[in-house]
Amino acid sequence: MAPVIAVAGFRKTYGSTVAVDDVSFEVRDGEIFGLIGPNGAGKTTTMECVEGLRRPDRGSIAVLGLDPFRDVYKLQHRIGVQLQQAQLQKRIKVVEAVHFWASLYGKPATDGDRLLDQLGLAEKRNAWFMTLSGGQKQRLFIALALVNDPQLVFLDELTTGLDPQARRAIWDLIRGIRARGKTVFLTTHLMEEAERLCDRVAIIEHGRIIDMDTPERLVARHCPERTVVLTTTDVGVEEALRALPGVERVERQDNRFTIQGRGDDFVGALIHGVSAHAIPVQDFRTVHPTLEDVFLRLTGHSFRD
């Protein structure tokens, strides 16, 4: 099946600043694809060019087989868009917004009502936009992005500024969008969000994609080391642990050992060795590297800097 989005050799400059350079990626049908990177890396620029809101300087972009800039009005009927930092009129009512949006796409107002129910906004129907909480505003923007029943949904920094609980609720909603057979293209600067939500991610920094794959494979590729934290009553086992196959490093803090090795079979081999040496185990915990570690490894600096 042809990719839903195909971007090749895309470049965008603002004056003398190169925002995005030589970016290529594909988004496949039915997946949640994340463009991840720190603020200012070029995520929004890329997304807005794919949406047809900006014109790329170079390269080709195809969305659902259309040129997003030239065929923007045709495309807008088939995509749903949530923009970063967009607002609505302060005193527009929730229900007015969804009904108006529905009318723009020639959909019945009841489609909007149904979405308000599904997104838990039914009680807020008659509330003004300015009175909504951050999470409610974002749910309204999701409703507006879905009101035309699009094949492809764009979500730009959807959960920025939300508390963890509201964020989790939004994640469930996004999985729900995928469950309905739609494709989701999102950006986030939250590595945890990307890891929990995305089928595939592209890591972008300084306007260039530095790697792209499923979160698991990115971690396996760039951070193959495995870490086990073992707590034991017998503090004299350090040498025995060090001698186990695959173990590269052991650190002790009181009766807690941090053991590092690499490879998929490392944890299994360790369990086997611990059991063979009859080491008394109070606690045994494996620590997984995350996308955050991948980013650190790839760029040499931490994500939040």
Binding site: L83, Q87, Q89, E96, W101, L104
Partner: protein
Amino acid sequence: MLRGLLGLTWLEIKIFMREPLGAIGSFLVPVLVYVVLGRLTGNRLPPGAAASSEMMRVTLPVFGAVVIVINAVLSLITIIAIYREGGILKRLRATPLRPATILTAHVLVKLVFTAITLLLMVLVGRRYYPADLHLPVVNVTLALLIATCSILSMGFVVASMVRTTRFAQPAGALLFYPMFGLCGLFVPLNALPPRLHMLARFIPLTYAVSLLKGMMRGDPWSAHVTDIAALALVFAICIALSARVFRWE
């Protein structure tokens, strides 16, 4: 996208009416000022004198109309700036709405409010106007529409270029208020020194005032071809200019 245009216009009218100062500012204050002015001046003049006075019959109504139109333009500039800064314009643009539709809706909202305000003033003003006054309503309305479109288009150029809401209102005021002094409303153009007279010829408001005054007096359209041509030219230039320089974000 006529449906989108009407839908957005109606939505914006409702939203504007919810502003704390929306209704009061656009209807109540102008009408109140007008009533107070009418009481102060109208009651002092004998009916016959009022009817024959150019000041009462032509200048004041035209002045009132121009003030309302300019206030509408200033408010339009501010709203566009607020919508731009808040990302609302951008969000609307990412829908099947055409940019022209979004902007036309805002102009329509202002036209509706201007029309309502003027209508209220005419209704209220009947108490102060002599009964024998024959106002060519259709002609005056048409002239007002032409003048308003032209002035609004100038406002759009300002709205296209101001970057922040804070500067929107002052920038608009800076453009429009000086025009007042030179537009021939209170001081006849011929009485101006030659240089200012020349300058007045380049002020679009001069033609708007001339057209409005003429229609109030009952002139035929043929006497104001220059005014209409000038206003149309201003409109065409300003719309073309703002189409080029308009910022959505």
